[in-house]
């Protein structure tokens, strides 16, 4: 037996593949990306007896054609990586369609094991399987499993090791495609055999079939004109004789095979009647109730993330504040050390700023995981589809856009589920227009500064509306110009409702949260350090520093006994110094340089500087603005900052409109 077996898990989406993957590998898994595509790559490890296995969770697919990145990836992993065994996880209550994939894996000639998952539900629906017979039809051992209960895992692992031990190359179970197709397949096969390189990697018969199916990926790999000519000839012959193109004929033959096998080996004793799912759906997708139910659920999700997430966020904030203080304390007080500043302001400040979001984001992911696992997400996409369609987007685009109201980062990550590249790009580009949570502090600062009390709440609402309107317009614009193209036609399976398992949901949430931490932590950490450097260097020249020190000395030495006044005076000087330093720094200079660009919008260099900081994290804008206006550590509730803003950027309707900016 090899040192470590490579096992690939394949199967339809919703067949329970991920659950089984989690059962087998527990937390010993690793999520990443396949290079070049936004398809998730999941790998994990497990042991059975004294056999070590590497388990690869292939993307869920309905077939192995070349029409989506997931399918191509799944196919390539099987062909290129040559796993020792491929396990096809099958939803036993949906046998025929699930077996469509199995048949295609079979044709690839890899050792196959079939897992009839959700076998408890199948039994309950009255299905009885003659596993022996089915096993012979498909040339693969069949194991019954109940993934979400973890049942059948041992048997599955045993079947895997047994299959590898049996060693022999599986005699390919050939599907008989019927005389006409078989003739053409042979003709093409003969030509392919002569094409040495290709024939060594791929099974010639499989290639021939794929060519007849007009598989785009295979087409691009064929260089020989002779082969292509034959394929063309064969296709038109088939079309003439059978009255349908070879692709359909082949699909038909596959299903014919499956039907035949099932007729012999599967008995159904109870008629499928209205299941519980249908009853729930009658309410949830009801014309009148659907939207309100959906909005109510979304509201619930938001409440969950923001209220439940509030205390942990404050706690995190406090923790990082404490950490900054503790680490800073390692240096003597008042120290000017660059290293201290780098660590405390740059690194702890930067990382802290990002990690503070973590509770919120984890909760959001948790909510999404529950919605997905229960099956509701599919209905949500379906309900929103019509509305999305009028903007040129997909039902599936709605979820990321909704998440974008909380935080843009997980929202963009959520766009992974959209298969069509153009739809996905459009959604990604448009999502940040939804006012995310980080903008709230900025709105809270600016709105009260410029608008009288009665206008404030409506203004906030208006800003959100403008965001949405902009998103809609941009989406329409993008879809009709740069990202023009057919929207992927909407076909989606509605899985039956299921009770999510705690373990599954938590694992899912943690998976995504960890990815977020990793990506954002590294990128934003880097940017924070960069920004720290930009806002601190070049520092104030010595003569200016001396000037401020002199002023400080004056205050310290005044005869006034009022300590409060002294402290205030010192603070004011500190602020002035900060402002001067900022103006002098790289960031300040860039702000100045940008001024001509910003002037038409009514901004000046001070806002420009603050904007630069805000690139990493929007909340930084408020703090930066505070520094620029010498109000020290500004928070959004800072009235003095508001006053300063109002004075400097008078809105057209205010009485001080005649004043020019300071």
């Amino acid at each position: 037996m090899k040192e470590e077996l490579a096992v690939a898990l394949a199967g339809n989406p919703n067949a329970g593949k991920s659950t089984i993957f989690n059962s087998l590998t527990g937390t010993r898994q690793h999520v990443g990306n396949y290079p070049g595509v936004t398809v998730e790559r999941k790998e994990g490890h497990c042991r059975h007896g004294n056999v070590a296995m590497k388990v690869i969770d292939l993307p869920g697919t309905y077939s192995l054609t070349a029409y989506s990145a997931e399918e191509v990836v799944a196919r390539d992993v099987i062909i290129e990586d040559r796993p020792d065994v491929v396990v096809d996880i099958i939803d036993a209550s949906n046998l025929e369609r699930n077996l469509y994939l199995a048949v295609q894996i079979m044709e690839l000639g890899v050792p196959l094991v079939l897992a009839f998952n959700m076998s408890d539900m199948a039994r309950a629906s009255g299905y009885q399987f003659d596993l022996e017979k089915l096993s012979r039809f498909f040339g693969a051992p069949i194991v019954e499993t109940v993934g979400y209960r973890g049942k059948g895992m041992d048997e599955l692992l045993s079947a895997i090791t047994a299959t590898v031990e049996a060693g022999k190359k599986p005699e390919q179970v050939h599907i008989d495609y019927g005389r006409e197709l078989e003739e053409e397949i042979s003709a093409i096969k003969a030509l392919v055999r002569e094409e040495g390189a290709l024939a060594r990697k791929y099974d010639p018969r499989w290639l021939a079939i794929k060519l007849l199916e007009k598989d785009k990926d295979i087409f691009s790999k064929i260089k020989s004109d002779a082969i292509m000519a034959q394929v063309k000839k064969s296709s038109s012959r088939i079309e003439k004789i059978l009255g349908e193109p070879p692709e359909t004929a082949i699909a038909g033959a596959r299903y014919g095979f499956i039907s035949g096998a099932c007729q012999e080996a599967v008995r159904s004793t109870i008629e499928m009647r209205h299941t519980l799912s249908d009853k729930i759906d009658a309410v949830v997708t009801n014309r009148i109730l659907a939207l309100p139910i959906f909005l109510a659920l979304m509201y619930l999700v938001f409440q969950l993330t923001f209220t439940l997430g509030g205390p942990p966020m404050d706690w995190m904030d406090g923790f990082f504040g404490w950490l900054g203080g503790a680490v800073g304390g390692l240096w003597p007080a008042g120290s000017d050390s660059v290293l201290k500043s780098l660590i405390v302001d740059g690194i702890i400040g930067g990382v802290g700023g990002v990690t503070v979001f973590l509770p919120n984001i984890l909760l959001l992911f948790l909510a999404i995981a529950v919605l997905e696992a229960s099956g509701y997400m599919a209905r949500a996409a379906f309900i929103m589809d019509r509305i999305m369609h009028s903007i040129g987007l997909h039902g599936k685009s709605f979820i990321p856009m909704l998440i974008g109201f909380g935080c843009s980062v997980p929202a963009i990550m959520a766009t992974r589920t959209i298969e069509n590249r153009r739809d996905r790009l459009t959604t990604m580009l448009v999502t940040p227009l939804m006012s995310c949570g980080a903008r709230l502090p900025i709105y809270m600062l600016i709105i009260p500064a410029f608008f009288p009390k009665t206008w404030q709440a409506p203004m906030l609402g208006l800003i959100y509306m403008i965001g949405i309107a902009l998103a809609v317009l941009s989406a329409k614009f993008l879809r009709s110009t740069l990202l023009k193209g057919e929207s992927v036609p909407f076909v989606m399976e509605l899985p039956p409702y299921r009770m999510p398992t705690l373990k599954g949901v938590l694992l899912h949430m943690w998976e995504r949260g960890w990815l977020y931490l990793k990506k954002v932590g590294t990128v934003i950490l880097g940017i924070s350090i960069l920004l720290w450097a930009m806002t601190n260097y070049p520092g104030l020249p010595d003569n200016e520093k001396a000037h401020f020190d002199k002023e400080r000395n004056i205050i310290v030495q005044t005869r006034s006994e009022d300590d409060g006044e002294k402290a205030a005076g010192l603070a004011a000087i500190d602020n002035e110094e900060s402002e001067a330093a900022l103006r002098h720094s790289m960031a300040g200079r860039i702000g100045h340089a940008l001024e001509p660009l910003l002037k038409p919008m009514g901004f000046d260099w001070k806002i420009g500087t603050a904007l630069i900081g805000a690139f990493a994290a929007k909340e930084v804008f408020v703090a930066q603005l505070g520094i620029v206006y010498s109000v020290g550590k500004a928070k959004e509730g800072s009235q003095s900052l508001r006053d300063k803003l109002q004075k400097n950027y008078p809105p057209p309707w205010s009485p001080s409109a005649s004043c020019s900016s300071a």
Partner: protein
């Protein structure tokens, strides 16, 4: 079966057979063919929709997505797609 589908959206061709989009909720029809390119046909085939298969229309509101039952699983189809699926 009533004409729920607006002929202007479906191309208005008069057929002896009809498009799936015109089928009432609760009816059962059989798939004859799909008027679309091979990519779409392939996707539908992978979902079980090949000529000869029985389709139960679970819900058809006339101008939104349809929910159908095919080979024991529920599938949602966009209206445009349903217009391209010819059934009897």
């Amino acid at each position: 079966m009533s004409r729920l589908c607006d002929p202007r959206r479906c191309g208005g061709k008069e057929k002896r057979n009809m498009s799936l989009a015109m089928v009432d909720s609760g009816s059962r029809v059989w798939l004859l063919g799909v008027e679309a390119g091979s990519e779409l046909q392939s996707r539908l085939a992978a979902m079980g929709l090949i000529p000869g298969i029985a389709i139960d229309v679970v819900s058809n509101t006339g101008n939104g997505p349809l929910v159908i039952m095919v080979r024991n699983s529920r599938v949602v189809l966009g209206h445009g797609m349903a217009c391209k699926i010819i059934v009897r």
